[in-house]
């Protein structure tokens, strides 16, 4: 929609800005709290930063874990999964969207079962499988079960289906083979969807905890969240809010930074250019 709804749009923006302020509260607090000199005291809840800012909690957090290794492993883990997924979901999504074969719907539904089964329930059998593959305790092993994603296949199929047929036809007539159509026409056409999936997959696996904890025993294969938990658990004492905030920030930071840096590119591919 374009046109004289700019007034409407402005109003929408203002409404969203108000809601956005509420939405952002936890973050604002997280940042102020992480920069506070101590997390006790009555005004810990205040959103106003306490001067002078202190990086004490970050220092603590940095000492508690081997962040270099943790970051490296997390990047391998999440980016590796994403790369494999991008391949598997686009190809499978293509088949489910465009290739008719007997029982397609059934096979598709069967694929979807994966969405509904959660790792914790299947953990032991999966570890047994990994063990028999000799992949227990390796990053690759930890990544393997995620490399096929019903979620992604579903999403890509749905997106492919709404690509106008004529575009594919035009390409066919121009002599494009399957690969051409796939790479040059279909993938760009569902680019926002792929991007959405990528962000989601990346963050999900970046933030994954239980499964890596279960299958990764070597310290030098540990991922960030395992490190985070190592200093934010507090079963018998009380929470060090500042430390939790700092740690959480450190875990989310790279992905958040990437996101903010490329915000314009990421997020604008989900929007309509002004001139349409």
């Amino acid at each position: 929609m374009s046109g004289n709804h700019s007034a409407y749009n402005k109003m929408g923006t203002i409404i969203c800005a108000l809601i956005g302020a509420v939405w952002a509260l936890p973050f604002v607090w997280m940042i102020t709290a992480s920069l506070r000199p101590d997390s006790g005291g009555a005004d810990i809840a205040s959103l106003i930063p306490q001067w002078p800012l202190s990086v004490g909690y970050f220092q603590d957090a940095l000492i508690y874990a081997d962040w270099g290794t943790l970051y490296r492993n997390t990047i391998i883990f999440s980016v590796g999964i994403l790369s494999a997924q991008l391949f598997s979901i686009t190809t499978a999504g293509y088949v489910f969207a465009f290739v008719p074969f007997r029982g397609r719907e059934l096979v598709f539904r069967l694929f979807l079962v994966q969405l509904m089964l959660w790792p914790i329930v299947l953990m032991v059998p999966n570890m047994v499988t990994l063990k028999s593959l000799g992949l227990l305790d390796t990053l690759l092993g930890a990544m393997l079960p995620y490399m096929a994603s019903a979620f992604g296949i579903f999403m890509v199929r749905q997106a492919f289906r709404s690509v106008p047929k004529e575009m594919i036809e035009a390409a066919q007539v121009e002599g494009a083979n399957l690969l051409h159509i796939f790479i040059l026409v279909l993938l760009p056409a569902i680019w926002p969807t792929l991007l959405a999936f990528s962000i989601v997959s990346l963050t999900t696996h970046w933030n994954e905890y239980l499964w890596p904890l279960m299958v990764l025993s070597d310290m030098d294969t540990h991922t960030l969240t395992i490190g985070l938990v190592s200093f934010t658990t507090s079963a018998e004492s009380g929470a060090e809010w500042g430390l939790i905030a700092a740690g959480t920030l450190l875990v989310c930071l790279p992905i958040t930074l990437t996101f903010v840096l490329f915000q314009k590119h990421f997020i604008s591919s989900f929007g309509f250019t002004q001139y349409k």
């Binding site: 004529e166 066919q172 007539v173 121009e174 680019w191 349409k276």
Partner: protein, 365 residues
């Protein structure tokens, strides 16, 4: 370039029989125009030839190859889609060069080809835009450019100029003709524009409800339409049709006027009881004072009143009532002021008339 043969082709969409038993042989290098009313199956024919739509029955050959079940990409045709079908995410330039790119043609060749079509279609300055930033006519030109940038065996064009203004259309039309003269690429061209069909085509195919009505050169179609449908469809304003009763040796017009059957039509009409006569608006003359009938040589005059006067610029179309009820007459715009309500006398040149059987299915002469 290749010849194309459609052998008893049929296409059904579910229960709807869109194309029925269609056979057509297109010669190597020929330029064929396909015309017909909206929904008559023109686009479908192109889609069948290109392979985008599988045929329900029959076979299709391009050159020596039977391509009936061949994938579109292997048919080596270029097509202009009626609704353009541009790639929304690619710039105009990439849209145009897509086909060459996937054929891995050299950059140099691409550059050259691009600059050639850009010139023909006046796409200067639009190359970096996305399709949604273009006007309707610009989009259509991009679609056209995308087709003619390549050198396929066969061009399929579905109303490629419908959204262009007369001047540009004329230019592009001439460029296409030029191109065709140079390359001699077999072309199937769907159009609603009679001028295009008449001037560009070696032969015209008239389609109606998925059935071919006539195939012939523009002259043939204009001069000897095979049936009433073709007669009325070709030419604008459409041919006047008059129901006529044949009564031993003379023809009776609906207003009662009787004229002796001219000798040259006698043999064809002598069996018929009633016939339908067609006469083109440009073959009716406004009789000047004193100009007389010559019923023997087929000049018949009718009195009438002008009901509507349509100024078309260079021409004027007059609609008449009265004895000449419903006839349309086309005269050149020489500045003579016609007004509705004027009475006039029309001279019909029966030697230029066409006679069809009562149901209109058949040409008598």
């Amino acid at each position: 370039m290749s010849s194309v043969r459609l052998n008893n082709v049929a296409k059904h969409f579910g229960a709807a029989k869109i194309i029925q038993n269609l056979s057509l042989a297109i010669n190597d290098g020929e330029f064929i125009a396909v015309v017909g009313p909206s929904g008559s199956g023109k686009s479908t024919v192109l889609r069948l030839i290109s392979g985008l739509e599988p045929v329900t029955e029959g076979t299709i050959q391009i050159g020596p190859r039977d391509v009936t079940t061949l994938h579109p990409k292997k048919r080596n045709v270029a097509m202009v889609f009626q609704n353009y079908a541009l790639y929304p995410h690619m710039s105009v330039e990439r849209n145009i060069l897509f086909g060459m790119k996937i054929r891995k043609e050299s950059r140099e060749a691409q550059r050259k080809a691009l600059s050639r079509v850009v010139e023909i279609l006046h796409l200067e300055g639009l190359l970096k835009r996305k399709p949604r930033q273009l006007s309707g006519g610009q989009r259509q030109r991009v679609a056209m450019a995308r087709a003619i940038v390549r050198r396929p065996e066969l061009f399929l064009m579905d109303e490629p100029l419908s959204n262009l203004d007369a001047k540009l259309r004329n230019e592009v039309r001439l460029s296409i003709m030029e191109l065709h003269r140079k390359l001699k690429t077999t072309t199937v061209y769907v159009t609603h524009d009679q001028v295009e069909a008449m001037t560009m085509a070696d032969r015209i195919v008239v389609l109606r409800d998925g059935i071919i009505q006539q195939v012939g050169t523009p002259q043939e179609l204009y001069q000897t339409p095979a049936n009433l449908f073709v007669a009325r469809f070709i030419g604008s304003p459409a041919m006047n049709i008059i129901d006529i009763a044949c009564e031993n040796g003379s023809l009776r017009l609906p207003n009662g006027l009787k004229v002796p059957t001219p000798a040259f039509v006698k043999p064809a009409l002598n069996q018929a009881r009633t016939v339908r006569m067609g006469i083109r608006p440009e073959h009716i003359i406004l009789a000047s004072e004193g100009q007389a009938d010559d019923q023997g040589s087929g000049l018949v005059s009718l009195a009438g009143t002008l009901s509507t006067v349509e100024m078309l610029g260079s021409d004027i179309v007059l609609h008449t009532t009265g004895g000449s009820n419903g006839l349309r007459v086309r005269v050149a715009n020489h500045g003579v002021p016609y007004a509705s309500g004027d009475t006039t006398r029309l001279l019909l040149d029966l030697s230029k008339a066409h006679f069809f059987s009562a149901e209109g299915k058949e040409r008598l002469c």
